[in-house]
């Protein structure tokens, strides 16, 4: 029953029926070593989709395939219908305008102010006046509760602020998909909670599809519309579904082991 509820919540935000990301038969490998083998899944438009798994299971590798930083050894990664595994540089750049990535370390350029960092993706767009660029930067910084911090350098900000600054930069072009690599890494519970609220606001307010890669089960269970669990031994997906569905109906010991560790944390949260 709970599953239906989640599904309907997702459906209301879907604009077209097609999945925004479709991964078909993806095999990822580094040289001889295969990390992921023949995996298939879809991310639906407008949902918050979380990829979880233990350390070294290949979730970051999977993320890098989804944003076109790595090319698949076999299979396809379709983002907005385009196979980015086989796309040329120009096509990749056009699709990259539709995605934003918040890296595990905030990845803000240390030599630039926060405002310059956030305005960086706007530099490629000609015809925008300086005033407009400044206002857009200001608006995005205010969205992540960093209004007024344009002229600060990343080194002068706290970890949580830098993370939010990275988020402002990732969403400056209003991307259709936002990717988060370990969003809570290095953040305290208060900052993590604040970031969670922001992610939810962006998802609802801007209708952005959100893909989160994390091993933080608590965060994932609170945020996700759907969760996908990958396993190192299996080299692939061992479960997919709404968080509640996974928690209450799964019999797979690996899934239970991964999710039930968090019961105490859930109780507190």
């Amino acid at each position: 029953m709970r599953v239906d509820k989640v599904e309907s919540k997702v459906c209301s935000r879907i604009e077209t029926g097609k999945p925004i990301i479709a991964v078909e038969g993806l095999t990822a490998s580094f040289g001889e070593e295969t990390i992921l083998e023949n995996i298939d899944f879809e991310v639906r438009r407008g949902e918050i989709f979380c990829i979880v798994g233990g350390s070294g299971c290949g979730k970051s590798t999977l993320l890098k395939h989804m944003i076109g930083l790595l090319r698949p050894a076999a299979g396809k990664v379709l983002v907005g219908g385009m196979n980015i595994g086989a796309a040329g540089d120009r096509e990749l750049n056009s699709i990259r305008k539709e995605i934003g990535v918040l890296f595990q370390s905030d990845a803000l350029l240390a030599s630039m102010t926060l405002g310059e960092n956030v305005g960086l993706p706007l530099g490629g767009l000609t015809g925008l006046s300086q005033d407009t660029v400044q206002l857009i930067v200001r608006m995005k910084l205010a969205m992540v509760n960093l209004g007024g911090y344009e002229n600060y350098y990343p080194a002068e900000l706290s970890g949580g602020m830098r993370k939010r600054g990275g988020l402002a930069r990732a969403m400056v072009l209003d991307p259709q998909i936002l990717f988060f690599d370990e969003p809570s890494a290095g953040l305290d519970p208060v900052n993590t909670a604040e970031l969670e609220i922001l992610i939810r606001e962006i998802n609802v307010g801007l209708g952005t599809t959100i893909v989160i890669v994390s091993h933080q089960v608590e965060l994932v269970l609170r945020l996700a519309d759907r969760v996908m669990l990958i396993d190192r031994g299996e080299k692939g997906i061992i479960a997919t579904g709404a968080p509640e569905e996974l928690r209450f109906s799964t019999t797979d010991p690996r899934v239970r082991n991964f999710l039930f560790r968090t019961d105490a944390g859930q109780g507190k949260g």
Partner: protein, 381 residues
């Protein structure tokens, strides 16, 4: 009713119902790329109109991003400043969602800190002076720490990390050998060639051998080798230690009760001091060999006479003073390279700056030390 069309995205239609009321109806895609154009068009459409109500109908907007919403806000702000009012009609849910995310007051608030004002000449000179003084102080403090660590390890040689010394000797010495050999060979060749052009005119071919060996052994051998090693190794020391600082590895050593200078800097210092004189000897050898090639092929000298003349020129004093110079240069390279690494604070950018500074400062100090040597040796020799 007038229609304005723009190639991509949106269509803006102007409908004037009454004299004090303007209805703008917007349709299609309103996105970031069109933000400035849309604002200009809306301002044009409302231009010349005294206070009144401007209605913006968004019924047919298929997509509007946050930059589009921002444009609406900017237009509304302008109308309000002129004493009018602005109303949006048929606001799509999604646009309403975006509006909810934008902090309108925040858009006009001043920044928490203004942009950096350019510094005046006097101020810049003062800053430079203060920076130079504090840099000098930290360099000297580090020199003191380094010497203290050396003294301690001289009394407890078992505590020296000899494995690390050997590793650094290989990196600095063995791996630096080919480039040192090649460059000094070519320098010897060049000096011999250039001087032969002049000396040939006087039939003083044989003095090419003296000139090359003297120049190489007394000056060029030690200094060229030191500059090359500074470029290869001082930068490497600074980058390695600097990165360790950023990754908290240096702090980790301190918390484990390990002195980072003894642990990291001293092995590098010992290795450089052991290796640089040897590299300098090789540089001398290859420089003379370079001169020999020119002497034999271009000046009708036999290898025997060339080498004999070289041997007569180079005294033991020259050779020893050259080795002494190499020792001091090696100390400077390791000292500056390690200090610049330990000085790193902040992020990756600081590592790059430290690396550059390690090379520049060590080369500068090498040249200064060399000129001191030149004067002192002149009076001693």
């Amino acid at each position: 009713m007038g229609i304005k069309t723009s190639q991509p995205g949106y269509v803006l239609q102007t409908q004037s119902a009454e004299s004090d009321q303007l209805v703008l109806s917007l349709s299609g895609r309103v996105s970031l790329d069109d933000a400035d154009r849309l604002l200009a068009e809306m301002e044009n459409a409302s231009a010349g109109r005294t206070a009144g109500v401007v209605k913006i109908d968004l019924a047919d907007v298929s997509y509007m991003d946050s930059a589009g919403v921002l444009t609406l806000f900017r237009f509304e702000e302008k109308i309000r400043r002129e004493g009018g009012a602005c109303v949006t009609l048929h606001l799509p849910d999604r646009t309403r969602g975006i509006m909810g995310l934008i902090d309108r007051q925040g858009l006009s608030m001043p920044t928490l800190r203004g942009e950096k004002a350019p510094t005046g000449l006097m101020e810049a000179a003062g800053d430079a002076g203060v920076k130079f003084y504090s840099d000098f102080k930290t360099l000297m403090t580090f020199l003191g720490d380094l010497i203290a660590a050396l003294v301690h390890l001289a009394r407890h040689p078992g505590e020296v990390r000899w494995g690390d010394v050997l590793f650094t000797m290989r990196r600095t010495g063995a791996e630096g050998f080919p480039i040192v050999a090649l460059i000094s060979f070519l320098i010897g060749l060049i000096i011999a060639f250039m001087s032969s052009l002049q000396l040939k005119q006087f039939g003083a071919n044989i003095y090419v051998a003296s000139l090359v060996s003297l120049a190489i052994v007394r000056e060029l051998g030690p200094i060229m080798t030191a500059i090359l090693v500074a470029g290869r190794s001082a930068s490497a020391y600074a980058a390695e230690i600097g990165t360790m600082r950023i990754n908290d590895e240096v702090d980790a050593l301190v918390t484990m009760g390990i002195d980072p200078i003894r642990f990291l800097a001293v092995p590098k210092l010992i290795a450089t001091v052991l290796v640089l004189p040897i590299l300098t000897l090789y540089a001398d050898l290859f420089g003379i060999a370079g001169g020999l090639i020119v002497g034999v092929t271009g000046l009708d000298l036999t290898p025997y006479t060339y080498l004999q003349e070289s041997q007569r020129t180079i005294t033991l004093f020259y050779l020893l003073s050259s080795m002494l110079k190499a020792l001091v240069f090696a100390f400077v390279i390791a000292w500056i390279g390690c200090q610049r690494g330990f000085q790193v604070r902040g992020g990756v950018e600081a590592v790059g700056a430290a690396t550059t500074s390690a090379v520049v400062t060590s080369i500068l100090l090498i040249v200064i030390v060399d000129s001191v040597f030149a004067v002192v040796l002149h009076y001693v020799g």
